[in-house]
């Protein structure tokens, strides 16, 4: 199951609509990193509205994807996490998701742009 990655100006947008298997997660990481490198996108917004379970495996896959995307130059924001998923993740333990997050797509876009500007202002 290939997850589409769309480009909108300086950002990439992707929405995870399916249940991720290990294979999907690895393919997705690979696709995202390539797309960031290929397009020179400055930001990546990952919409997870459709995910009704985020277990520790999926949390780790999201963290790794974000880390890889950052290494090739994109700021990453996750958006649309369902409230019960957020609650469950907090109950599971400390900081399972290690990625910037936003309420919805709109806020996700804004946050990504803010992170990008902040990065540009940073010396070096």
């Amino acid at each position: 199951m290939k997850i589409p990655i769309l480009q909108l100006k300086n950002l990439l947008l992707t929405s995870i609509q399916v249940e991720l298997t290990d294979r999907d997660a690895i393919d997705f990481q690979y696709d995202v990193v390539h797309k960031v490198a290929e397009t020179g996108a400055e930001g990546l917004v990952i919409d997870i509205t459709a995910m009704d379970v985020v277990d520790s495996f999926i949390a780790r896959a999201l963290n790794e994807t974000a880390r890889m995307a950052r290494l090739v130059g994109a700021e990453v924001v996750i958006c649309g996490m369902q409230p019960t998923v957020a609650l469950t993740l907090v109950e599971m333990g400390r900081e399972l998701i290690d990625v910037e997050s936003a309420l919805n797509l709109d806020h996700g876009f804004e946050k990504a742009q803010r992170l990008i500007s902040a990065k540009k202002r940073m010396p070096g």
Binding site: D52, V53, R60, T84, T88, E91
Partner: protein, 133 residues
Amino acid sequence: MDKKRIEIKNEADIVLARQAGRKMAQSLGFGPADQTRLATAISELTRNVIQYAQQGIFEICDQSNRKAIIIRVMVEDFGPGIADLDKAMEYGFSTSQSLGVGLPAAKKLVHKFSIKSKPGHTKVTMVMTRKRV
């Protein structure tokens, strides 16, 4: 008394098992937060089955009585077993370089959690309950 059994053989079965958990919790009147807690705990345990024992069994049943609504989940495998159970239940302990959060998190998410393991057999039982109103 409602009961469902799923053989856990591949990743798709993880999804089936957690969906069965959510569905039963929903049909017995548990709220969305409990549905997600149970589905997530099931996801962790059945993933362990695939990861460490290749295959196993998931069972969920409605054991409600006059006083309470009770869901019991059993996840069992005949794989290598867990060498050090106390360690395995510690947050962050993993023999596979993953997060090591599955077992302790599952325990926190449900109302009762018990685990037994010896070489050749691992069995986890979880219970979610709700008082009848």
